[in-house]
C-alpha cells in the first residue's frame, strides 16, 4: 500500500468519527450522516485504487446488485417497519463479514492447496481472527434473521425454550471457538482446513438461531441493539484479518454504539442483559402482585365528548405515546389534535419513554414523520419534572411505562423500572382498548386513579373523536 492511499484511509476513519459527532445534535445530524457516507465512498475508492487495474467483473456485479437492493429497501420501508429493516441490515452486515473471511480462506489456502497451517500462510493473528470473523459474522446473520421473523410476526413473539439450551449453547460456543482456533493454528492440510471452517460456520449459524429464539418479542429492542453491536465487531474482526486499521476503527465505533443502546434499553426495561439473553422472560404471565383485569376496582370511563371537555379547560397538555399508538397508526391523528389545541391557545408536548416504540428512538421517528416538531418531544427526566404543571396528560396505547407500581410496589415485577409519572398531572386521559395488561402482565393502578378517565377505544378513532368534539366546543 502506498502511503497516500493509507492516508486516504485515515481521512476516511476521521470522517466516520466526525459524522458520528454530527449525530449528537438534530441540526447537524443530516450533515453527519452525509460525512459518514463520504467517508465510506473514500474508503471504497481508496480500496479500488489499491487494488489497481484488475478484472473488476465480480466487483462490479456485487456493487450493482447490492446498491439496487439497498436503494429499494431504503425507499420502500415504512417508518413503522424500521426495527425489521435494522434487524435485516444487522444480518447482512454480519453475513458479509463471515463471507469475506470464508472467501479469503478459500483464496489463500483452500484453492491453491497451500501446504502448512493457515497461520503459516497468512500469519497467526490473521488466521485466528479469520475464524473469529466467521463465528461472529455467522451467528449475527442467523440471529438477526430470527429477530426479523419475530419482529414481523412470522415467528411467534413467545420465547421458544428448548430443554438444556444453556448447555447446548455453551457447547456450541466452545465448539466453534475451539475448532476455529484449531483449524487456524494447527491443521496442516488445506482440505481439512476447509472442512473445519465449514463446520465452524454451521455451528455458528445454528448458535445464532438458538441464542435468539428463547427471547420474547418484547425484548427485541435489546436484541437488535446487541446484534447491531455484533455486526460492527464482525467488521472489526475482518479488519484484523486483512490488517486494515480503518476497518478496525469503523467496526469498533459500530460495536460501541450498539453496546450503549443495549445498555440504555436494559436500564429502561429494568432488566439486566443476562436476564434478557438467558431469562426467557414472558414465557408465562409474571407472578407477583397485581393480577388480571378483573381485579380492578371502580374505573371512571368516558367517551371522546368528556375527554374533549377536559381538553377544553386545559392549557398544558402532555401526550404520552406508547406502542399502541404506532399499531393504530394514530400519529397523524394525534398531530391534528395537537394542532387544534395549539390553535385554541394551549400548549402540547410529548413525553417519550425510551422503550415507547419498537426500537431505541422509534417513537421519535414516527412522530417526526407526522410533522411533530422535535422540540416538543421530551425525554423521560424532563417530562417527569414537568408533569406537576400539566393540566391533562393523554396516555395513548401505553401501559407498563406509566405504571406507578414501578415506584410504590417493591415486590412488583417492574419494581424499579423508570416510568413516566403521569399521575402527577391534574387529570389523566388513558386511551386503551381494554383493561388488559401490558407486556409485564400486571395490573396498572393508574387506570383506577381518581384523576384518571379511561377512554376504551381504538387509539386513532378516539383521538379523531376528541378532535371532532373539541372543534364543536
Amino acid at each position: 500500500m502506498t502511503s497516500w492511499i493509507a492516508l486516504l484511509y485515515l481521512l476516511s476513519a476521521g470522517l466516520f468519527i466526525l459524522g458520528l459527532k454530527g449525530l449528537t445534535k438534530v441540526r447537524s445530524a443530516r450533515r453527519g450522516n452525509a460525512q459518514a457516507a463520504l467517508a465510506m465512498l473514500i474508503a471504497i475508492v481508496a480500496t479500488l485504487l489499491e487494488i489497481g487495474i484488475v478484472d473488476w467483473r465480480w466487483i462490479a456485479l456485487g456493487l450493482v446488485v447490492g446498491s439496487a437492493v439497498g436503494v429499494f429497501f431504503a425507499l420502500r420501508v415504512q417508518m413503522t417497519q424500521m426495527p425489521e429493516m435494522v434487524a435485516l441490515f444487522n444480518g447482512s452486515g454480519g453475513g458479509a463479514s463471515a463471507l469475506v473471511a470464508l472467501a479469503t480462506l478459500w483464496q489463500v489456502s483452500v484453492e491453491p492447496g497451500a501446504p502448512g497451517t493457515l497461520a503459516s500462510v497468512m500469519g497467526g493473528a490473521s488466521a485466528f481472527t479469520l475464524s473469529l470473523s466467521i463465528f461472529i459474522g455467522a451467528l449475527t446473520f442467523t440471529g438477526s434473521i430470527v429477530a426479523f421473523l419475530k419482529l414481523n410476526r412470522t415467528l411467534s413473539g413467545d420465547p421458544i425454550l428448548l430443554p438444556g439450551r444453556h448447555v447446548i449453547n455453551a457447547l456450541l460456543v466452545a465448539g466453534s471457538l475451539g475448532l476455529g482456533g484449531y483449524f487456524a493454528l494447527a491443521v496442516g492440510d488445506s482440505s481439512q482446513i476447509a472442512l473445519y471452517a465449514l463446520v465452524v460456520t454451521g455451528l455458528s449459524l445454528l448458535l445464532g438461531v438458538l441464542l435468539v429464539i428463547p427471547i420474547g418479542g418484547a425484548d427485541m429492542p435489546v436484541v437488535i441493539s446487541l446484534l447491531n453491536s455484533y455486526s460492527g465487531i464482525a467488521a472489526a474482526a475482518t479488519g484484523f484479518v486483512i490488517e486494515s486499521p480503518m476497518l478496525i476503527i469503523a467496526g469498533a465505533l459500530v460495536g460501541a454504539s450498539g453496546l450503549i443502546l443495549t445498555q440504555i434499553m436494559c436500564v429502561a426495561m429494568n432488566r439486566s442483559l443476562a436476564n434478557v439473553l438467558f431469562g426467557g422472560f414472558g414465557a408465562e404471565p409474571a407472578a407477583g402482585d397485581g393480577g388480571p383485569a378483573d381485579e380492578y376496582g371502580p374505573v371512571r370511563s368516558g367517551g371522546p365528548e368528556e375527554a374533549a371537555m377536559l381538553l377544553d379547560a386545559a392549557e398544558r397538555i402532555m401526550i404520552v405515546p406508547g406502542y399502541g399508538l404506532a399499531v393504530a397508526q394514530a400519529q397523524h391523528a394525534v398531530r391534528e389534535l395537537a394542532d387544534l389545541v395549539e390553535k385554541r391557545g394551549g400548549s402540547v408536548e410529548y413525553a417519550i419513554h425510551p422503550v415507547a416504540g419498537r426500537m431505541p428512538g422509534h417513537m421519535n421517528v414516527l412522530l417526526a414523520e407526522a410533522d411533530v416538531p422535535y422540540e416538543q418531544l421530551l425525554e423521560m427526566d424532563r417530562a417527569n419534572a414537568d408533569f406537576k404543571n400539566v393540566d391533562v396528560a393523554i396516555v395513548v396505547g401505553a401501559n407498563d411505562v406509566v405504571n406507578p407500581a414501578a415506584q410504590n410496589t417493591p415486590g412488583s415485577p417492574i419494581a424499579g423500572m423508570p416510568v413516566l409519572e403521569v399521575w402527577k398531572a391534574r387529570s389523566v386521559i388513558v386511551i386503551k382498548r381494554s383493561l388488559s395488561p401490558g407486556f409485564a402482565g400486571i395490573k396498572n393502578a393508574l387506570f383506577e386513579g381518581e384523576t384518571t378517565m379511561m377512554v376504551f377505544a381504538d387509539a386513532k378513532q378516539a383521538i379523531q373523536g376528541m378532535t371532532t368534539e373539541l372543534k364543536e366546543l
Binding site: 478484472d55 465480480w58 439497498g70 444487522n90 452486515g93 458479509a96 437488535i224 447491531n228
Partner: protein, 92 residues
C-alpha cells in the same frame, strides 16, 4: 509492536472514542443512529473488494462477490434510509 497489537490498540481506542461520542447522542436520534451504524458496518465491503479482484470463476470469488452485495446493501440502504429519516426531523 506487532500488527495484531497495533490492531488491538486501535480497536480499544476507537471503542473509547465511540463511547464518548455516542453517549452524547440524544434519544430522539437513536433510530437514525442504528440505521447509520448499519451503514458503517458495511465497511466490511473493503475486505470483500480485496477478496473479489480477479476474474476467475472459483468458489472464493463467488463468496467475495456475495459479500460485496450484502455489504453494499448495508452501505447504500443504511445511509439512504438514515437521510430519509433525518429529513423528517423539523423544528417548529
Amino acid at each position: 509492536m506487532g500488527s495484531l497489537l497495533v490492531g488491538v490498540y486501535l480497536f480499544v481506542l476507537a471503542m473509547f472514542v465511540g463511547f464518548e461520542i455516542i453517549t452524547k447522542i440524544p434519544p430522539t436520534l437513536h433510530t437514525p443512529l442504528m440505521s447509520g451504524a448499519n451503514a458503517v458496518s458495511g465497511i466490511t465491503v473493503v475486505g470483500a473488494l480485496i477478496a473479489a479482484q480477479g476474474g476467475s470463476v472459483t468458489l472464493g470469488k463467488i463468496l467475495a462477490c456475495l459479500a460485496i452485495a450484502l455489504a453494499t446493501i448495508n452501505v447504500v440502504g443504511g445511509f439512504l434510509v438514515t437521510d430519509r429519516m433525518l429529513k423528517m426531523f423539523k423544528r417548529r
